[in-house]
């Protein structure tokens, strides 16, 4: 005698404790197994691209902060690089080193948040999350020294950065660089060999190597599947060609690989920070000849950078005025959602959230 079953369609609503931000999914499942996932986005759409057409080039920097609100510095960096290419501005060296330092610190903070919330979704009742947030606190205090704001920084300007680092910044940075490797080792030892974490994350949410590039997946997700493509290496911007670091590559492309890749990338960022501190020289942080109101000549530019979530680029079109004619954001979290359905089909409900968390999606960037 067979039991009649029917699939259930459930709405994992926009307000949910473990979808990071306002994200809605219509999930159909049969028992525990997922048959269909349809993501519905747009709950955080603020029309940033249209707003950018009304603001001057420097004012748009504040808009870019709020897109991926967990990683503001890299958003700023991508936009400013596009503006500099469009307007033909050569940035001053000290400004470039400072913005590389800010970027790498932001990368560590963003990966800490991503990993912490991933383990939180597994159910570990905030304990590893709080350990990671404790480290992020130190980074946010350093950002406060640099520019006065912790999260939405608006630190970068065309030509460099907005303000030089105060004296108390460098000892704080050195202290951070001394302590952080031990903390990362702690987290790795605690979690990477924990039985429960291993059986929950291994072979779950597998993303195969040959599908990734076709779906324009970039960032740690791509590297965890085994494809060696990191824009800091292949297409260096700022002074990344003067710095040596390695990039971690995964094998299978499941949740566990993505988790480990982010932890290893945190260590690589520490290496980059040490080299930046050695190379930085005193000097002005912005060239004096850059005007406040930047008026680039007609044309367009697109400079992609490697943000913590993937390839982030701003496509700017200028018509000679003080505002961009068109500002389009190539948002990595948005495009990484393309393969969400293929990754979770066949897994159980509990795995849906873990897979989604390991993609490290930020709704501010998805919806803009």
């Amino acid at each position: 005698m067979s039991i009649r079953t029917e699939p259930v369609t459930m709405n994992v609503g926009p307000i949910h404790p473990s979808t990071h931000g306002v994200f809605r999914m219509r999930v159909t499942f049969d028992g525990e197994e997922i048959i269909d996932v349809e993501p519905v986005i747009g709950y955080l759409h603020r029309g940033s691209e249209k707003l950018a057409e009304e603001r001057t080039y420097t004012q748009v920097v504040t808009l870019t902060d709020r897109m991926d609100y967990v990683a503001s510095m890299t958003n700023n960096q991508s936009y400013i690089l596009s503006v500099e290419k469009l307007a033909g501005i050569t940035p001053s060296p000290r400004g470039v080193w400072l913005r590389m330092i800010a970027s790498e610190l932001q990368r560590i903070a963003s990966h800490a948040v991503a990993n912490g919330f991933l383990i939180n979704d597994l159910g570990a009742w905030h304990t590893p999350l709080l350990y990671m947030l404790r480290e992020r606190e130190k980074i946010l205090e350093m950002f406060e020294m640099l520019c006065g704001a912790r999260i939405t920084n608006s630190y970068l300007r065309p030509g460099g950065v907005f303000m030089d680092a105060p004296d108390q910044f460098w000892p704080a940075l050195n202290r951070f660089l001394d302590e952080m490797p031990h903390r990362i080792d702690d987290i790795e030892n605690l979690l990477s060999t924990n039985e429960i974490v291993l059986i929950r994350t291994q072979n779950v949410g597998v993303l195969k190597k040959d599908e990734c590039l076709n779906a324009s997946i970039t960032g740690p997700v791509l590297r965890a599947s085994g494809v060696d493509w990191d824009l800091r290496h292949k297409n260096p911007y700022d002074y990344y060609d003067q710095i040596s670091f390695s990039r971690p590559l995964g094998e299978i492309g499941d949740n566990h690989d993505r988790f480990l890749v982010r932890i290893f990338e945190m260590r690589e960022s520490l290496k980059i920070l040490r080299q930046c501190i050695e190379n930085i020289q005193p000097g002005p942080v912005r060239p004096k000849e850059v005007p406040f109101l930047v008026r680039p000549p007609k044309g367009d530019s697109y400079v992609p950078i490697e943000s913590p979530k993937g390839e982030l680029g701003f496509y700017l079109v200028s018509d000679g005025g003080v505002s961009p004619f068109r500002c389009h954001v190539r948002a990595p979290s948005f495009i990484n959602l393309t393969l969400l359905r293929e990754m979770v089909l066949g897994d159980k409900i509990a795995d849906l959230f873990v897979t989604f968390g390991s993609l490290d999606v930020n709704m501010g960037e998805v919806d803009r």
Binding site: G47, E49, Y302, P304, V317, I335, R368
Partner: protein, 148 residues
Amino acid sequence: MTKVFSGEMIRELIDDLEPESVVSTNNDSVHIKSESALKIFNELKNKENCQFDLLSSLTAVDYIDRFEMVYHLTSTVHNHSLVIKLICGEGRKEPKVSSVVSIWKGADLQEREVWDLMGITFENHPNLKRLLLWEEFPGHPLRKDYLR
């Protein structure tokens, strides 16, 4: 360092693949005819010396008298990139382009967003629905003539 193709180099490349399809050449990009777009993209993705396997970005711009689509392509194999633009339809009425989802799956969500905000229709797109705004929203906000 990624080698960026200049406008002339792109024109030579495309002339090899599909002659007479380049409309105009700029400093760092070319405009191609929208009818031959799909064929050119297919060749660009699969041909040995091109192998543009990563569609970096797909977007649309509303110049007041026309709509233009902009494609940024990158090759992870050869580490070079190029920019291709194409003009959609005649003037501003009913812009239509063929969809490249069959070539790069990453174009899926980006084309839906362009339809949603700019109003350019993509033929042969599997699921052309509004993405960021709700279904009954009137108009296409990113157009220059959209009144707030």
